[in-house]
């Protein structure tokens, strides 16, 4: 059986080529795992985020009043905020389990701990983007005004939130790989993050003298900027600056990648 096999192009493959092969294989694998893990997996993949958003809106509408958002309708405002936040959150949380879940794959020396992390970030972003499009299309059919006023701006803000999630995700994947408690703490922290990022309650409700502290949180910048691009007449607090968000995103991504280079053997060896 050995005679007619293809020569493995291992020795002649360029390192970038190896990386590309690994990424494409892992992308397909991750997609298959996400969509075909059990017979309804693909359905839940789409329905679960929709249901979460619906439940959040339901709680917000019927349990608490105060739905006056200056310059935007309440439900679209809420959907945009939640979708942006979940994109960030999933891109940050998902990679944390990636190294552990793919431990068996490090048998193949071509695969490094960073590969499953990046692939998960990418897959998560793709799924979320698909769902956002689904929301916009279905919303338009239901006469909910979800058409962005500045489509390019929305895409840029969406990308920024995604990058912020990836940056922190890459960093936290190393941190939680080395110290497993980090994962738990981060998971606990995401719930209050939903509240202080102005997702459910508008940031404009916060007294003016405290607003500057809210602006320390990069998610606020991303989410508010995306709402500004969605709704032309929307008003938010002053001081929204995407450079600040990108500073966070690139700084954490750089630190995360450096730590991956430094700790790759230890992440593999566990």
């Amino acid at each position: 059986m050995a005679t007619n096999t293809e020569q493995i192009p291992d020795s002649s493959r360029h390192p970038l080529r190896v990386t590309w092969d690994v990424w494409s294989a892992m992308y397909l694998r991750e997609m298959i795992a996400r969509t075909m893990a059990d017979r309804m997996a693909w359905f839940w993949m789409i329905f679960e985020p929709i249901a979460t958003v619906a439940v959040m809106i339901f709680i917000r509408v019927y349990i608490r009043g105060g739905r006056n958002i200056s310059g935007a309708e309440f439900i679209p405002w809420m959907i945009v905020g939640l979708m942006g936040f979940y994109l960030f959150r999933e891109a940050m949380i998902r990679p944390m389990g990636a190294v552990e879940a793919n431990r068996g794959l490090f048998t193949y020396r071509q695969i490094l701990p960073i590969d499953p992390v990046l692939i998960r970030c990418f897959v998560e972003g793709m799924i979320r983007s698909f769902i956002l499009l689904l929301f916009i299309i279905v919303g338009s059919l239901l006469k909910i005004d979800l058409m962005p006023d500045h489509a390019l701006g929305v895409m840029m803000d969406w990308l920024s939130l995604w990058m912020l999630g990836i940056g922190l995700g890459v960093l936290l994947s190393v941190a939680s790989g080395l110290v497993s408690e980090v994962g738990r703490v981060v998971r606990i922290l995401t719930m209050p993050l939903l509240l202080i990022s102005g997702i459910i309650f508008p940031v404009t409700y916060v007294p003016a003298q405290y607003q500057q502290y809210l602006l320390w949180n990069p998610i606020v910048h991303g989410v508010e900027s995306m709402r500004l691009s969605f709704f032309d007449s929307y008003h938010t607090i002053p001081g929204i600056d995407m450079t600040y968000l990108w500073f966070w995103a690139l700084a954490s991504l750089t630190l995360g990648l450096v730590m991956h280079v430094r700790f790759a053997p230890r992440l593999k060896a566990r």
């Binding site: 059986m1 050995a2 291992d10 092969d21 694998r29 059990d38 193949y108 020396r109 060896a269």
Partner: protein
């Protein structure tokens, strides 16, 4: 060819870590199959992992010239929710195979002989089926150097023979670096040997010398721990009218046999990766221990009787 220069490796455990491997310098030439011997925990598997590039040395380096496989028959990389076919495709893609993907899948399928189960999720497989698939997968690629950690021990007898044959067909074009306690298979597959003792590696041009040095170092003169002769079992009952000395002799023989099996089981447990496999081996070791105690008791009884008679 594999060159190892000034290689150091240690692991940081809860009790600190001594050096597992200290200042190893080796050159493994092309086309020569090498067996690695040493007692449990000497660092054989660690050396193999370092050669395979699954682990990074703390100091020194490993230079691989040629394509080196992952440890043959390792099923760790399979995703349980995916089918055998999907798993095979994944590994092929990682190794950059595109054009002959279907051919490769066909080869794995033919070799593994697991039939329809090839399209079932891997977590429905038995451990034997898993290792068949893993072994077929390793052999479908054309590596220059295969590394193997007790690989030929997977599967049932017929499959073992087939795997061994497939291996031997490759020797000549490809070489093999194997870690094994089965001395028969080491003698059969390898020409040269490496003995690992107290963090040092010693090269022997003949595997026979390596095994002999290993015996001398461990103080065992008998040919222990060959997994190939574990299946022959002698009856515990003695024939009627057998002489006293014969009875003692046969009991002693049984003792050494059980002792051997215990060593093998212990080793297998130390290299086993799947939980159910470890459970199985644990149960096996438990029953071996019981058998050991039973035989020991019998022997003591016989000795007591002997004393009574002589007194």
């Amino acid at each position: 060819m594999i060159e190892i220069h000034n290689l150091y490796k240690r692991y940081h455990g809860p009790h600190g870590g001594g050096w597992v491997l200290k200042d190893i310098n080796l050159t493994i030439p092309d086309g020569i199959s090498v067996g690695v011997v040493g007692r449990n925990g000497a660092g054989k598997s660690t050396l193999l992992r370092l050669i395979g590039g699954m682990d990074a040395p703390d100091r020194g380096k490993v230079i691989r010239k040629g394509r080196v496989s992952w440890p043959i028959g390792l099923a760790g990389g399979f995703k349980g929710s995916m089918t055998g076919r999907q798993n095979v495709k994944f590994v092929a893609r990682v190794h950059g195979i595109k054009k002959s993907l279907t051919k490769l899948i066909q080869e794995v399928q033919d070799f593994a002989e697991i039939g329809e189960a090839f399209d079932d999720p891997v977590n429905t497989y038995s451990s034997g089926m898993r290792s068949r698939l893993a072994f077929g997968l390793s052999l479908a690629f054309d590596f220059d150097i295969y590394i193997s950690d007790e690989a030929t021990a997977v599967g049932d007898r017929a499959f073992k023979a087939k795997a061994r044959e497939a291996f031997q067909k490759r020797i000549g074009r490809a070489s093999l670096i194997m870690v094994s306690h089965g001395e028969a298979s080491l003698r059969q597959m390898c020409e040269a040997g490496i003995l690992i003792n107290e963090g040092k590696a010693f090269w022997y041009d003949k595997i026979e010398d390596a095994i002999e040095a290993y015996h001398r170092q461990s103080g065992l003169i008998t040919d222990v721990a060959d997994e190939d002769d574990e299946s022959e079992d002698e009856g515990v009952l003695l024939a009627e009218g057998a002489s006293f000395e014969d009875a003692v002799k046969s009991l002693k023989k049984q003792m050494t046999k059980i002792q051997k099996q215990k060593i093998i089981a212990e080793y297998r447990q130390s290299i086993a990766s799947e939980e159910d496999e470890i459970e199985r081996i644990k149960a096996e070791r438990h029953s071996l221990n019981r058998l050991h105690r039973a035989v020991k008791k019998k022997l003591q009884n016989l000795k007591a009787i002997e004393k009574n008679i002589s007194a």
